[in-house]
Amino acid sequence: MKPFSVFSLQDKQDLSKVASFEHSRFLAGGTNLVDLMKHQIEEPDQIVDLSGWQEAHQISESDHKVTIGALVTNTELADFAYRQPTLSLLSQALLAGATVQLRNRATTGGNLLQRTRCYYFYDTTKACNKREPGSGCAALDGFNRIHAVLGTSEHCIASHPSDMATAMTALDATVHTMNAAGEVRHIPVRELYTLPGDTPHIETQLGADELITAVSINKTARGTQIYQKVRDRSSYAFALVSVACAMHVKDGIIENINLAFGGVGSRPWHAKSAEDYLRGKSATEALFSQAADVELSAAKGSGGNDFKIPMLKRTLVHVLGQAASHQQQHPDHEGAIHVR
């Protein structure tokens, strides 16, 4: 690990006291950044340590919305959201990720900004445009079983690994930030991440001095929710494919639908075309299959990950079917359910 200096942030106002944000990284739980620093993939000269920032550990609630401080741990958030029917999808996604040890340490802000698990990104002897812009992409004709099929470019096919961010994308969460000049932004999580294009090293629209302060989610009713994660083993593995779904069906008609995919997109994938196709129509298996085709029409495999396209379709159709039949059996049901 390369040596670094430490600035200890006690309050978000302290951002203005940081002399420079060049070669600087915010450090929250460190479960991703410390790992990458050990591999010398991340080599910051300065760490802005967030562990003394007390205010960011709070979850606050109003009648309409929940605001989650950036340092709320994945365990705390899963525990909280489990007991909130309109948000329990988020709990299901968080608890499907990593392990208890990691979730106890990982934070809300850090989870959103965790980096890809692409093998070549981790291997400093290989070409990687994300790690070293302009060097090429070893994954394109290498092992690319875990890579993305949506939103990729010829410069990078890495998938975004977060389960939490996928659920937050479905729930249309808002990310709150502040920069060193004290400017505050409220960014829909659906707009936080940029597509790789020819700049895969840029992953979000955040500036180097821009701190995530909190994430807020409206408490509107969303109906039956399902986070279905398909992976190589049933625990402690990243998603090959995941579907986050919330559906409200009334008299056989899909009144409201929220959909996002994990493991398949270069960012947590908001399945907007599928949502638009489904909304207002009668919930049938044929419709679900058509909606999957609409969303997946632009999907592109790279060889090793070709299987993800049919796997995503099957998972989506299954999840939509389970959510719809639960809504029909239990009208006005609100909350996450388990499906096999």
């Binding site: 479960t31 410390v34 790992d35 760490i47 340590d49 392990t99 040890q101 340490r105 996450a336």
Partner: protein, 165 residues
């Protein structure tokens, strides 16, 4: 608050901010109970309790832990008596080479308190989940290359059941 408490003893923080808790314990304090299996958060052999919560010591930078209280496998037993879960590991033959054991036991100790706090696992969304499946899911962060899982699950299950009784 530039100190850290480990098994009841207070220590100054290491000079170099790059020092992980695991390396600090191994290289500065001669505490070798927590093991280094992977050094990347992927195996759980380094599991310790930080203010009672289990975490991977290999991914913790020590300077971030000022004021925290750490318990490792070395701190679980009292005077002459083993911790009940340590005893259960012996009684159930829950290890082979023993390399994962200190992490498994720290994890199991925390698991018990997490159940007492009613913390959900992903299985809780399934009304038909079994206690054994739940223990397995909650212990998935501790790998055992010897494959001693069945007896590890037995030892931890026996201890958590006793707690509930």
């Amino acid at each position: 608050m530039s100190s850290i408490t480990i098994n009841g003893q207070t220590h100054g923080l290491p000079q170099d901010p790059r020092t992980t808790l695991l390396d600090f314990m191994h290289q500065h304090l001669q505490l070798f109970g927590a093991k280094k299996g992977c050094d990347h958060g992927q195996c759980g052999a380094c599991t310790v309790l930080v203010d009672g919560e289990r975490m991977n010591a290999c991914l913790l930078l020590t300077f971030q832990l000022a004021g925290k209280s750490i318990v490792t496998i070395e701190g679980l037993a009292s005077d002459d008596e083993l911790h009940p879960l340590q005893q259960a590991f012996i009684d159930n033959d829950a290890f082979q080479c023993g390399f994962c054991t200190s992490g498994q036991i720290c994890s199991g100790v925390a698991l018990k308190s997490e159940l007492e706090k009613n913390r959900p696992s992903t299985l809780w969304f399934d009304p038909d989940y079994t206690k054994t499946e739940d223990v397995k899911e909650r212990l998935s962060g501790n790998l055992c290359r010897c494959g001693a899982y069945p007896h590890i699950i037995d030892a931890v299950s026996i201890c958590t059941d006793e707690q509930e009784a």
